[in-house]
């Protein structure tokens, strides 16, 4: 009797759902990590970095949804340093299987490995760590942030194009700097470029006073080279290196000529419209993290728009299918790599005032998709969870 009653409820619930139009709630979860101090406080990171992008993506989805009877909602949570990130994720997963995550790598994996996350759709909108797209990938974890390797490959393509073949590098000591330097070395090798010398930045002097004196000496023994690469992902010392090197050479990497997922200087491909929409809503410029969160939100919106479904299995299958494409203001349709869930996207190479190039650069060919000259191509990725 009880069983029959239950199945009746289930059937009624199912019918109610079938009659209803799609409705999607997305959770945005940010896990704060300790931020080491930097030499300069000129560019504070916005409090709502990333979240603001998700909110703009939500607005875009809502506008589209109103013509189709589709509804969207955003729930937000932020876990302070030392807080219980996994508990917060579990609580959010109890409300929705769609999460956009800004979290340290180990926390991302802990969340993706939760029982409650199996069958969910999680988007990494912050971390560029290669391992997450490689042997540490998870079938539930998609990546809208470009991997470090995608960015350093983009820069390497610019080096090739400009024939800057002899390179030197200064790397910081933070884990992000080390990862970026590692990705850079990989990219230089991939594109046949030479890293002539490397140094580690381990000063503790205050560069606002000393840059003019310290940096020339520090870079003097590099000898001659074509360009200097900086691995300074926390933007600690890099800004003081420009125009202070012993040899008058361009600076690239974390400062100077930088490969980025998004930047206010991108104005082609309709990008100025996204900037203006975002600027109106949040009174600041749109960062790469905002863009990654926006892209995650729009990915879900696009999948709901095209399928009319709101269950994770249907949406996941659609997102990974050949039919999916996202118009992301980068001049090409954005799609997902079926082998590791990475959003395929052009990478802009910019300086603070203008776009210099957009990778893939012309002439870098690929068997199936030129965008796959950036980052881990299918044969290079050890990710097996998606196949």
């Amino acid at each position: 009797m009880t069983r029959m009653w239950l199945s009746l409820i289930a059937a009624t619930a199912f019918m109610a759902q079938a009659a209803q139009a799609a409705s999607l709630t997305v959770g945005y979860l940010r896990i704060d990590a300790p931020m080491p101090p930097t030499l300069s406080n000129l560019d504070p990171v916005p409090e709502d970095d990333g979240l603001a992008g998700a909110r703009t993506g939500l607005d875009d989805n809502l506008t589209t949804g109103k013509f189709l009877g589709h509804d969207y909602a955003l729930i937000e949570d932020r876990v302070p340093e030392g807080g219980d990130a996994v508990a917060a994720a579990r609580a959010m997963l109890a409300e929705t299987p769609y999460l956009i995550l800004d979290a340290p790598d180990d926390t991302l994996l802990a969340i993706a490995d939760l029982d409650a996350a199996q069958g969910a759709l999680l988007f990494n909108a912050a971390s560029g760590a290669l391992a997450l797209r490689d042997d540490e990938c998870r079938a539930t974890l998609f990546h809208t942030a470009p991997s470090d390797a995608m960015r350093t490959d983009a820069l390497a393509q610019v080096f090739v194009k400009k024939r800057w073949t002899d390179l030197v590098m200064i790397a910081g000591t933070h884990p992000q700097d080390i990862a970026y330097a590692e990705a850079m070395r990989r990219s230089l090798k991939k594109f046949g470029l030479k890293l002539e010398a490397e140094k580690t930045w381990a000063f503790d002097a205050d560069m606002r006073r000393n840059a003019a004196q310290e940096v020339p000496l520090f870079t003097q023994d590099f000898g001659d080279y074509d360009a200097l690469i900086l691995a300074d992902e926390l933007h600690d010392f890099g800004r003081y290196v420009l125009y202070n090197t012993w040899e008058p050479r361009p600076v690239a990497g974390s400062e100077g000529l930088s490969p980025v997922g998004w930047s206010p200087v991108i104005e082609q491909w309709g990008a100025s419209q996204l900037h203006s929409r975002f600027g109106k809503a949040h009174a600041r410029a749109m960062t790469a993290k905002d863009y990654a969160a926006w892209a995650a939100m729009r990915t879900l919106g696009e999948a709901v728009t095209r399928t009319g479904a709101d269950d994770p299995a249907t949406l996941r299958a659609y997102i990974l299918s050949d039919d999916f494409e996202l118009a992301g203001f980068k001049g090409r349709p954005l799609t997902y790599r079926a082998w590791n869930g990475q959003l395929r996207q052009p990478v802009a190479v910019v300086h603070p005032r203008a776009l210099v190039a957009q990778a893939p650069l012309e002439g870098f060919l690929h068997r199936t998709n030129e965008l796959d000259t950036l980052g881990l191509d299918r044969p290079e990725s050890a990710c097996g969870a998606f196949e």
């Binding site: 875009d60 506008t63 589209t64 013509f67 929409r277 729009r298 494409e325 001049g331 090409r332």
Partner: protein, 321 residues
């Protein structure tokens, strides 16, 4: 005798000295090209970021979407002077003039709104909520239906011009850019820049009737991006600008087959025909020029340097004087 010959030459020249008006998005000017000499004969200043451009039916007024000035400007084409601005809503990108010669339907790109302005009273008649980043605008020949396409929502919105309300919203491929009614309004075509297609709708049912795809040899499909398009006499062929592929496609409008690709300047946007539609003028945004195409031969004849980032184009016949 000699005098007679010269007079005859002058007469024949002026008979064909029509004009193509081109907006230069990043120069805040319009360039005027003579369809006879194929040279720029005048350049006039406009408001900021001029894009969409169209003439009143008697060609006595030029309407210009000055996007960053948040206005539609009205220019006297005889003098190049701006006469006045029309209220347009914010960031007008593209518009279409209703067959009544009186109502402009304007896409307000930043506001997800289509604004309807009466050019005589200079008042906003209606504002209609549409999808994110409205751009492509069209109106049916009988004036009953106006279309707005929205780039991020990826829809064609069908507006009943009687009630100024939406009566249908149809999905198309990514980033719809331009719309046109064809065959006396029986069909409505929408280009999708990122999707790389043109969707053909049956106007009566608003149902998809055909989809046209493009393939340019040696160009990655991602870079084949249909934007503006126009039809030859009798709607026989559509000439379709394919953006950064730097080609214009020639589509047989009866079979929906692509018959030819013509190499033009870089990032081709929009276009306008001359009076007998024997020549087509395309705006090439990145190379900052206009390509003149021989329509019958399907070949580029010449490129004409204009201002920076030419965007819209409109034809103006010049009466014999």
């Amino acid at each position: 005798m000699r005098f007679f010959v010269i007079a005859a030459l002058l007469a024949s020249t002026s008979a064909h000295a029509d004009e193509i008006w081109v907006t230069n998005e990043k120069d805040d000017t319009v360039s005027v090209i003579s369809t006879d000499t194929l040279e720029v004969i005048a350049t006039y200043p406009t408001g900021e970021r001029p894009r969409g451009v169209t003439f009143s039916h008697d060609y006595s007024r030029l309407y210009i979407c000055a996007s960053d000035s948040d206005a539609v400007q009205v220019m006297d084409p005889a003098t190049g002077r701006i006469l006045h601005d029309l209220p347009s809503g914010e960031d007008p990108e593209q518009f279409v003039l209703h067959p009544d010669d009186r109502h402009l339907y304007i896409a307000n790109e930043d506001d997800a709104i289509t604004t309807v302005v009466d050019v005589q009273t200079r008042k906003v008649v209606a504002q209609i909520d549409v999808g994110v980043e409205p751009e492509g605008m069209a109106v049916s020949p009988d004036g009953r239906i106006a279309i707005t396409t929205s780039e991020t929502t990826n829809m064609a919105h069908w507006i009943d011009t009687e009630t100024q309300k939406l009566f249908a919203n149809t999905l198309v491929d990514s980033r719809p850019r331009h719309a046109e009614f064809v065959r006396d309004g029986a069909e409505m075509w929408v280009s999708s820049e990122i999707g790389g297609t043109i969707t053909v709708f049956d106007t009566a049912t608003q149902k998809e009737k055909a989809k046209i795809e493009f393939e340019v040899k040696g160009v990655h499909p991602d870079r084949v991006q249909p934007v503006g398009f126009e039809f030859t006499t009798g709607d026989e062929f559509a000439f379709v600008a394919l953006g950064p592929s730097n080609h214009v496609a020639v589509v047989n409008a009866a079979t929906y087959e692509v018959e030819d690709y013509i190499l033009v300047g870089r990032r081709v946007w929009h276009m306008a025909f001359n009076a007998d539609r024997s020549r087509l003028f395309t705006t090439n945004g990145v190379s900052g020029d206009v390509t003149v195409i021989d329509v019958a031969k399907r070949k580029a004849l010449k490129s004409i340097k204009v201002g920076r980032f030419p965007w819209g184009a409109a034809f103006r016949p010049v009466p014999d004087s």
